[in-house]
Symmetry: C2
Amino acid sequence: MTITIRNVVDAIRSSVHSIANTVDGLEFGSPDMKVRGIATTFMATQQVIEQALSLDVNLLISHETSYYSHRTIDGLLIGDPVYANKTKRVQYSGLVIYRHHDYCHSAQPDPIMIGLLQDLKLEACVEEMLPTAAILRMPGEMRADEVAEYVKSKLAIPYVRLAGDPHMICRRIGILVGYRGGIANAIPLYRDKGVDLIIAGEGPEWETPEYVRDSVNHGIPKALVSIGHAESEEPGMRYLAEQLRRAYPSLPVHFIASNPVFQVL
Amino acid sequence: MTITIRNVVDAIRSSVHSIANTVDGLEFGSPDMKVRGIATTFMATQQVIEQALSLDVNLLISHETSYYSHRTIDGLLIGDPVYANKTKRVQYSGLVIYRHHDYCHSAQPDPIMIGLLQDLKLEACVEEMLPTAAILRMPGEMRADEVAEYVKSKLAIPYVRLAGDPHMICRRIGILVGYRGGIANAIPLYRDKGVDLIIAGEGPEWETPEYVRDSVNHGIPKALVSIGHAESEEPGMRYLAEQLRRAYPSLPVHFIASNPVFQVL
C-alpha cells in the first residue's frame, strides 16, 4: 500500500482542530510523493538534513523551521549564502521537510511534553496536565540543585542554568517546554499551582529568573531550572518517531538528535 | 539649586525626539520631588532597591522594569505576593523608580553600547557605529574561543556561551546589546558587514546560534558569543552614572551592579 506525505501529515494532525495562521506546513516537496522512510528532529539543520539523507528517508518532520525564525522575516534571507546553499542542497536531494509545531503542541496531551516526561522518568509524578504545562508532585525530598543535577543527568545534557534558591526542598514542580519559560506562563504556576520549581526550556532572561530571585528575597523560596529550548523539545520529537513507528510498521522511522548548539566557557 | 526628578528625566531624554508608545516612565513617585541622590542599575530587583535605600538616594534609574516583562501583561500580577511585597516596600520607602530604556537606546551613540565597549576596552577598534550595532576591526589575530575568554575576563562574568567555530580567526566583530541577538539583526552583520563573530546579549536559542552552526557546515566559518542580557547592558548603566555625575556634581550618583541571575550546573 502506498503511503504519501499527505497521509502522514493528515495522521499527525488528526487529533487537532484546524489552526488558523499556523506555521506548520511543507517547507520542501510535494504532498503527493510516496514516503520511503521518515525521520523526526527538533530542527532541520544542515547536519540533520545530511543525516536524514544518509538514512535514505525522504520525509523529515522538523519541529522548528529550517530557516532560523518562527515566522518568515520579509527579505531577510535574500542573497544569504547559508540560505542559498541549504535550499539548493535540499531541493537537489528531493528531501521533503514538514514543520510540525502548532498541531504538535495543540494535541492533548502534547507529545513534546510526554516525551520530556518520559526521558525525565517523571511520568508517574504528574498530578495535573494543563494545556501548556505539567504539574508534578515529587515523591521524596529533593533540593533545587538536586533537581537540576537530576534533569541534567536524565537528559544527558552538558549544562543547565539554575536561578533562585538552590537549597530549597521542591515538592511541586512545573514543566514548561520550548519558549514557554516567560513570566506570563511562570507566575500562574508559582502563584496559583503552588510549584516550588519550574523546569523550563527557554524564556527571556530578566523575566522568570528575576521574579524568582525577588521571590527568594521576599522570603518566598522558588527556583527555576532552564534546560534549553532544543533540550526541552527533542525528547518529544523522539516520542513522535515512536508513534510513527507503530502507525507505519512497514516504513523505516528514525529520530535524529542534535548536539548542543552552545558550549559554555 | 533644587534639582527635581523632572529635571533629571528631561536631561537624560534631551538628545532624542519624542518616542510614541514608549515603555519609559516613572514606575513609582512624582516628577516634582527634589532629588537627593541618584542610582542607576540594569533592573530594579529587590536587592537593588534595598541597596539604593541604604545609599540614601531617592531616584533609581532602571533600564528594565521592576515587574518582569517588557510591557505590562493584563492581570498577571494581581494577587501575586512578590508584586505586592515589592510595591509596598517601594511605596513605603518613597523611592522614585524611573525606567530608562527606549530613550536610552535611541540616543546616538547608544550609551549602553558605549559602556560595553569601554568595559571591553575595544572602543579604539570601532570601525562603524550603526543605530543597533557596532562593527569592530580587531587589531591582531584572535580565535573565536579567545574572544570568548577575553570578553568573559574583561566583564568579569562567570560564563559565556559560544556557538559556531571556536578556532576561526576573527578579524571583524559585531556587537548587539540586550535582546538584539536574534536572526533579524545578526544576518545583516554576518552577510552585509562581513563580521566573523557576533558578541550578543540575548536572543532566541534556535535563531542565530543555529544559523551560525549551519554556516560552519557550509564551509563559511562564523561564531557567536552570547554573554547574557544583563551582562551586555549593565556596563551602559554604569556609564550613565558617570554622565550623571558630571552633569550633577552636587548630587551623589551611584551605579548598582547585580550578581548573575543564573548559576551554571
